[in-house]
Amino acid sequence: MPAKLARPSAETLAAGTRQGLTPAELARIVEILGREPGELELGLFALNWSEHCSYKSSKHFLRKLPSESPRVLQGPGENAGVIQLDDELAVAFKVESHNHPSAVEPFNGAATGIGGIIRDILGMGARPIALLDSLRFGEPNVGAHRNTPVLDLLRGVVAGIAHYGNCVGVPTVGGELYFDDAYADDPLVNVLCVGLLHQRGERGLQPYGAVASGVGNVILLVGASTGRDGIHGATFASEELVGEKEAKRPNVQVGDPFKAKLLIEATLEACNVGARRAVPLRGQAQDLPLLIGLQDLGAGGLSTALPEMAARGGVGIELQLEKIPLRTRPMTPYEILLSESQERMVLCVPTGSELRFSRIFHKWGLEAAVIGRVIAEKSFIIRQEQHLLAQVPIEGLAGGPPPPDCALAAPDVVGAGLVPALASPAPASPQPAWEKPADWQARLLALLAAPGIGSRRPIYQQYDHTVQINTVVGPGAGDAAVLRIKDTPYGLVLTIDGNGRYGALDPYQGGAIAVCEAARNLVAVGAEPLGITDGLNFADPNDPEVYWAFAQAIQGLADAAQALEIPFVSGNVSFYNQSVRRKIPPTPIVGMVGLLRDINKRVPMGFQAPGDLIYRIGRARGGIGGSEFLKLFYGRGEAFVPNASPLLDKVELAFESRLLQAMRALAQQGLIRSAHDISEGGLLVTLAESALAGGRGAELDLDGRSEAELFGEWQSRFIVSVAPEAADSVARLLGERELPWACLGRVVPEPLLSLIGAHDHHHTSLHLDELRQAHEQALEGFFA
């Protein structure tokens, strides 16, 4: 029987539309309430049902992502995913985007992005131990002027991440950076935080969660006081940045990393983590009961956090607005409820324990206020003094809006709408000679010095990456970061990856490759991949081509994760990354966490000893489409299709899986001395990077290789170095697993990268100093 159609009044329609609610959603609201909503109630629905908070356009697709493995303690749906390492240890991790705030105010936007993801990890009761940042900007095009808009953004974002991360004492151990004009109006700032959970008392390894339960229990708001910051940030994140950023100004949130640091320590004390400290701080509260649940305040502030906690616990919450400590007065109920003031958390604690919990926060100089109680009626009830301001069924808020009907359509030419270069005619310049690598030295040096490939030192030097004394392999030193876990033999291995150019050419491949590439980074170090967190950055989902690309990318992510047997445990979706001028290409970003059971068995990236043999393992053939090489020398890496070969090579997932297993076996058996996956820049760049990292030269026989072989970026390949004694074992292992490989040359004592001609034995070489200089200078001028 069709449900009776509720009809919102003209007044409700007008007010709701102003808040971004659709007529269908407004009808549903009236149906849920059985009456017209009040102003505050409309605001609650607008926030809870925004794309950012409800995932209304993406939920359906996200279910395709595999999320199970015996190690998963917490899959998608919580503040962060949690993976178990052993009986006593687990890691929590998640990616968060802060694209729109960073576009408006790069420094504070990026800084509060770090604050937000750290609180997500804290929400699981985990101590944050590492950060990674994934950044996308327009082409820097540095000329005489150092104050280009792109460089201002880049500098602001990096300074913001440094400001916040350094101050809270969480090392930023890795990240990635791409430049492409498609991101000129919509930079992407995705950040990943990892936290460590120890087993504790009765709770064991069970992570905390965003839950409220037990009628009569207390809702405690802790941290900073509430001001008029970022009202409507969540709906803002769900809108295009329309030309004039002026209008968005009141939304800017300013972070206070000092308070964030205090909040971390106080919250962990409240989670009983302090008890596991070797020597507890004096004055620490004793006999603390267990917390029931906790939740960070992010997008939507209290208006979304509380219904979420109540929904999880199957209860209701009654909130007393006048109990909330305010920074600015007066504030309307609407402003208090929707405020996105940073550095706040909500705790649900047992009745009678509120003073003991509050004392912890007071000791750290933070606010702690009892703002409400758990009630049996499954409603979100908001009162100010004795006035009832809102009463909304929790299910209605947290259950999300009726699914929107976004259409989905494949474009005529894949990528045409997404990459402007594809639509334009081929350049008039003569057809490039794909066969002969003309002057490899000049090309290699130019690639190493390209902003897309060169050293990221000017960035990571601004990040404290050694605090907490766990960083064994830091930024710039390997394919993935390696952290030791104190008092264990373990290494935690972390990476974040995603190439939007591949996403533009083929969104399915963009997704699949991002998973494979991240896994390769972990496996290169010798680690076992354990779990994925993803950041899905797309344009407007109401655009059928964008929506199609989104669906494709998810399928690619899901298929690859299935094939490699790595679960997704958390993630983030950011839509509306587009301006009137352009859309970003589909940019799925994958963060991955892996484990080295014995940190001493980690495999370095650099060549180690003269005489070692250099092998290329993996797929032997592929094209040059989508490469940095095409972009740099032909200005259209996204698009150029020589001889109609495919835009982008496809990754073969079964092959990839075999390759990764073989690589792990090689590492475990100690058969390889170094490993580095072949990615952006192709074979020669990879060889040069291994030479630079190890400070050793190499002599290579690459005679007669085409430019596609030297500079193509096709998938599923590694460069490894092997001691001569191990050569037979390596060959046997690869043979048994039917994996192609080739010996390219050997490591030499001289600091030279040399190519030998097979026929005339003519050496052409480059000194490592020259390579290093090119590599190091790539971004230097950007920060001067």
Binding site: D229, K245, R249, G255
Partner: protein, 84 residues
């Protein structure tokens, strides 16, 4: 010497969180002025210019203030030009 002294005062926009101002206020209060309030921290940038008309100098300084010295998203500025 003739010329001008330009002083640009850049302050956080009212209403935005000013953690530095808060921290300093607390320190001032604890150090013996418990009644101190409305503490704010601004940046005062001053520079000299050799010549031109007062009007012109003011106009260009205003432009520099907008373009470079203050970030309008989070800050506001005020300007003083003195003839030397």
């Amino acid at each position: 010497m003739s010329g001008y002294l330009v002083k640009v005062l850049v302050e956080p926009r009212p209403g935005l969180l000013d953690p530095e101002g808060q921290a300093i206020e607390r320190a001032i209060q604890e150090l013996g002025l418990p009644e101190a309030h409305e503490t704010s921290v601004g940046k005062l940038i001053s520079f000299k210019l050799p010549g031109g008309s007062l009007e012109e100098v003011r106009e260009r300084a205003n432009w520099i203030g907008q373009k470079l010295l203050a970030n309008p998203v989070i800050e506001r500025f005020s300007l003083e030009v003195e003839a030397l």
